[in-house]
Amino acid sequence: MAITKRQAAELAKQTFDYAPAPEAIDHVRIQQRYGLFIGGKMVEPHSKRRFPTINPATEQKLAEVAEADAVDVGKAVSAAATAFTSWSRMAPSRRARYLFRISRLIQERARELAVVETMDGGKPIKESRDVDVPLSAAHFFYYAGWADKLEWAFPNRRPRPLGVAGQVIPWNFPLLMLAWKIAPALAAGNTVVLKPAETTPLSALLFAEICQQAELPAGVVNIITGAGKTGSLLVSHPGVKKVAFTGSTEVGKMIQRSLAGSGKHLTLELGGKAANIVFEDAPLDQAVEGIVNGIYFNQGHVCCAGSRLLVQESIARPLLEKLKQRLSTLRLGDPLDKNTDIGAINSKAQLEKIQGLVESGIEEGAEIYQPECKLPERGYWFPPTVFTNVSQSYRIAREEIFGPVLSVLTFRTPAEAVEKANNTPYGLSAGVWTDKGSRILWMAERMRAGVVWANTFNRFDPTSPFGGYKESGYGREGGVHGLLPYLELA
């Protein structure tokens, strides 16, 4: 097995360029066409219409999914309403058993779900494998445990489910958002009709299969696919008692308006423009990791992304130097490659939106930095981007970009940091980096945001409530608080 001298010499000259390490996809079966999951079965859509879902990294069609019309929505809601009668009366510990089963099935089929998530949405496989899928399983496990403990969560009250929940989720964390919506709803005794985003329906359809495998009673979970129209039919359906929406603030406002006076319960998890605040005494190398994780995780398609970096002026220079060097090591490319850090932008429309906002940043006078980065020819891509010399008034400092674009601003004192951080209609999350514990708590008290991360960023856990202040929405998902939106406390 010896190799020649020449080969050995060549070996010695090479640099450490990671060879492709693609995740195998041969264990994943994606159907050509999907129906709607209603009443425990995959059924043909009444609309007879289908639309393609594509892989944003290759622009290739993965499957055709059904577009649910008003009749389909009606069927799904009525299946859920029928199932509600027995599901809500079932002994809570039996409900728990089904949720535990689902959690286990997600764990068992983890790789399959991760691969589908990555192919359909463009996110790096390391993220779907290490974050989305395990957290989804954990979410079901956590809420499974609550199903028969509700009286401990709300002492002295008799918690009762609301009925059919209509849930509309976004494309950035398709399976995880599904788990965030379905697990607490079911644990509390509701039944659901869930609509995944039109660009990322596949993991939800795979989840439908998991519901069948778990022998979940028919109609407890219904999954209908379609675009905004389907979503609006769902939330406005009179049989729906509770609406949960995660998505843009713009659509959230429309839903809130449209439900006015209907008596339906509503929770909204909307956009954000989080400040990630770095003080001069912060552990810098870890802060750089936190900044990178805060804005480049999932290509910045994260509502709580740390899209505004507020850095204390005294360390702005070394911090940005370190940050720029770190950006040069980010690996952009095939989302299925296990070494990819930045995958594909979810859709053409989203890519255009990012491009537009980045152009506005340049026009308004911010200084752009992008590391040398070769973009693949096919698919939708955007390189990691940092804007410096950004003013509070620039669009890139105010509007949610939902892409891998960071705007850097500086501050001089903690009070100024607070002022700038809160100077936004959003209030989903914030980050604070300092070595001083008391300052962390001082800052946390003053942040008008639903989640404050200190010396870390973008951490999620089923036990930890998540949700926004102000125009980032209301209601919490996760933790004890995540049960409340799905219960009436009699």
């Binding site: 050995a8 070996l11 990671y18 060879a19 070595d435």
Partner: protein, 307 residues
Amino acid sequence: MATALSLTHLGSLMRGVRSVDEVGADERAASLAKRSIKKASKLWALDLSIRCMDLTTLEGSDTPGKVAALSAKAIRPKPGDASVPSVAAICVYPARVAEARDRLRGSRVKVASVATAFPSGQSFTSIKLAETTDAVAAGADEIDMVIDRGAFLSGDYQKVYDEIVAVKEACGPAHLKVILETGELGTYDAVRRASILSMAAGADFIKTSTGKVQPAATLPVSLVMMEAIRDFMRETGRPVGFKAAGGIRTSKQAIAYLVVLYETLGAEWMTPERFRLGASTLLNDVLMQIDKERSGVYQSADYFTID
């Protein structure tokens, strides 16, 4: 080329060294450990880990025979296969240096000697200096010294600094690797401080561990040291090498160190002049992995010589 430090300020300088967040450092190291290195890059990494290896024996039972066998293995890790390179150095106790020098004559394999009352460092400075001088005189190309952890942990940074400066001087032309013994320092903050102190005092390399204390080298501790090297380079323009030692037994571990090195210090550090892996049993596993990559068949230890 130690930067001139105002000695009275050494203590406050040390306390001013930027802190390290343990959780963040651990997470970063864990994420790098998940890099998937395949095919050509794996072969390259395995080859490099041999070229950067300090093949080590540091036992009370070391004999001329043991050193002879180790030297042969160092020069020609796989008899009959010239495509496998020699290791960087063999690392022995001072008393074995002359034999190693003798056995390695004519090869490019360097002789490294531990010194300065290895592994504890609990002796007199005069003895540490004499040991260093004698080891160099006996033919050591490289000296692996230990810092005085007792002094470091009691806050006597001056003593640690002065000793490194003196040992560096005693080394003459020999390269100086400074062992921090991170397993005894307690925190990443202390590791970072000790790294900066050692580099400022003139270390050519900073090294994690003696291998005699648990935990020895870990990925996150190495990351913290490499980040200190990176910052020192930015401040002073002087590149300092890094050596991980202790507990590195498998190719998979070795490759993880190379990944951290690559993504922290960059390609310029991926050479034996700036990176070493101190290990006694790693070599055979690397050889087995090389054969596995070339033949596509998992290997058995029975087919690899033990030296």
